[in-house]
Homo-oligomer: 412 residues x 2
């Protein structure tokens, strides 16, 4: 079957371009149990690329749902040290991390969101030393996709389970530039170079803030952090190993100034947050902080998100994505951040990536904060891009530089 | 479907009769990834029985095969402390442990058995504090079965994958006394009582050794350890919680004296050891130790087994099983110890169960050894029972007590 060959190409692309496994490196594969066979394809390719060992860490949202339903908040928040030690051991040994997304987007619907929020917060907090290392660029990592059965049927509710999964495979393989490409590794190198040229343009422009507007009602000015960097396409670890943190990726992104955001932004796509769908929502910011918000559906999940910690009410990421991309061309709403964030311009509430500030990874947290970097245990993307989006950059002397018109790049 | 209802009954039986989950107890489910949905059924029943939390630990023999194939012995023997800490944490917190067996019996065929043996030995050694606790009866545990696809096709090679799996489900559900029983929990209580009556008979008999013979060529005298106990059916933890360590179970078993075994024993069924099938094999013992062995197929695996440590060449268990049982009546060779050991009388090379010696769990290792208890990091069962097996018990004054004739119990 053509799909089987393409799936193998995808596994190889993940290993070579995604995390770029190095000789004698440990690879960690974090996967839903449902796609253990796909995880094994990746494992085999990682060994063939010279990995010293491949450790698979399984999870299952259906099992997790039972825990969230039946266990107490106290039990769920008591994060076992073995699970923290496991990630840290491999991170300390210089491993690369492959995370497969594809589980049920509605896995936790109908449950106590407060309990889930507390539990997730405890897990994130316990693992913050691991996330710090990742954020500092000490390890390669990538997030990739597998069409889980529940996810597939959510995206294609009109199809049979099997047809839905096949169609979502097709969509994923198109979105990650596998389909029809003889040499996806080369294709990705070129794609990554194009994203880098947008970054150069923005980085050399002297822009200090961005005015963003569209017909949904979005009207916001987002100041950028001092010494911001525009990132996109491949990243590099502190040791200079290139990797792609997301597959697919279509975005270039930077660090907003945590206290220089004013105005209102309307989401243009639903958000799946901790298994709950949030739809038709907005946030209003004053001096960087969310001071008002609303949603036609799932507002409670936003309340949880914003209550995570101090930083979860401030922005940590601004990402620009042209309205027309291979992902958008599939015409599908994926209900999965990895895809939907690459289908539209987006913002993230919560932690900023230290790597989007010059010298950021080497600074203390306080030094970064002084330059406008936001900190939080959470990082949640939401989409605001539309076909009529306009973005204008403003330089220190007030010069206006058109960046987006009608949803796409004015100039690269 | 009738089978779905029976599978749910099985999950409930595992929770109630298998480990007998207590209110506010933690349950740990160790499962092949393939049967994550069955594991979730057990998880749900455990929560409904009052479990405080249910932790699922996944494994996958196909992933493990890739590690055994590609990683070095040094890497494989470097057992991560998080994996040891994980089992110990829950054991120390008084958890019960449910292990699901059902993975590919031939998973590791064709690989370097020396490497696999070293790796398994390292894992067993690292986890010996956990196994010590289990052996001392500090935690309830049970081993149960799920018809994995590869296992099913191995048992029924003439059927399609789906038919084979369905047929193995039927066989398992018959063997564990679910099929046709309105109340399997009650059925198991009665079955367990019958096994206990065999134990009483043997325990009160004053037997010090057993002479065993059949037409395969087996001719061996097995001395029993001092203060041996005959166990079978349910067990009890040190805190008095009843559980069934194996489902199915048809055996009553005791502790051989590590230095009082002389003669030859021929296997009556193949052995699946670390993914390798060993067929038509024998062991010859002198003063308890294997001094000669052979196999028509898979002898190398036996070499590995015997080289595990000093104790792996001595016996740790003698188990009696009537030739006619529900398992035998399925007429199937299961290629899985849990079933095949309950289809026939068997011996185990390696560690003895401390609980099969009066006061054993409270003694030091040296104290147990002095009374004839064997110690090893391994414990591997092999079957010798046949339809013409005879077993005669010998008391201290030389009286002969017939125990088995023509493969079955002379008296209960």
């Amino acid at each position: 079957m053509y799909r089987e060959a393409d799936v193998k190409k995808y596994a190889e692309l993940i290993v070579k371009t995604g995390v770029n496994v190095q000789k004698n490196q440990i690879a960690v594969v974090r996967t839903p149990v449902e796609c253990y066979e796909f995880a094994n394809l990746i494992t085999e390719k990682a060994f063939l690329a010279g990995a010293k060992d491949v450790i698979t860490i399984y999870s299952d949202s259906a099992s997790q749902r039972l825990r969230f339903k039946h266990a107490t908040t106290e039990t769920l928040c008591d994060v076992p040290s073995w699970s923290v030690d496991r990630l840290m051991k491999y991170a300390n040994e210089g491993a690369c991390f492959i995370s497969i997304t594809g589980d049920d987007p509605d896995a936790f619907e109908g449950l106590d969101q407060l309990k889930i929020g507390e539990s997730k917060k405890a897990v994130m907090k316990a693992n913050s030393p691991y996330y710090d290392k990742i954020d500092k660029g000490e390890n390669q990592w990538t997030v990739v996709a597998y069409p889980g059965k529940k996810w597939s049927s959510k995206v294609f509710p009109e199809l049979s389970a099997e047809e839905a999964q096949n169609k979502l495979w097709d969509s994923i393989l198109s979105a990650v530039r596998i389909s029809g490409n003889e040499d996806p590794v080369k294709e990705w190198a070129e794609h990554s170079a194009a994203l880098a040229s947008h970054c150069r343009f923005l980085g050399e422009s002297g822009i200090v803030s961005m005015k963003i507007k569209n017909s949904l009602g979005t009207d916001i000015e987002i100041g950028l952090a001092e010494d911001y960097i525009w990132a996109g396409g491949s990243e590099k670890t502190v040791d200079g190993v290139e990797f792609q943190a997301n597959m697919p990726t279509e975005e270039v992104f930077t660090m907003p100034h945590r206290e220089k955001v004013n105005g209102i932004v309307y989401a243009s796509l639903p958000l799946s947050y901790q298994g709950v769908m949030v739809e038709d929502f907005y946030f209003r910011f004053e001096n960087g902080k969310v001071v008002d918000y609303g949603a036609k559906k799932g507002k409670e999940a936003l309340t949880q998100l914003l209550a995570t910690d101090e930083g979860s009410s401030y922005l940590g990421e601004l990402a620009l994505v042209a309205y027309e991309t291979p992902i958008r061309q599939t015409g599908i709403l994926f209900y999965n951040t990895l895809f939907d964030e690459n289908a539209a311009c987006h913002l993230a509430l919560g932690s900023a990536y230290a790597m989007t500030m010059k010298g950021g990874p080497d600074m203390t947290k306080d030094e970064r904060t002084a330059k406008g970097c936001n900190d939080s245990v959470s990082h949640v993307d939401f989409m605001f891009g539309t076909a009529d989006l306009s973005i204008t950059g403003i330089t220190a002397d007030g010069t206006e530089i058109p960046v987006f018109e009608n949803g796409g790049w004015v100039k690269a």
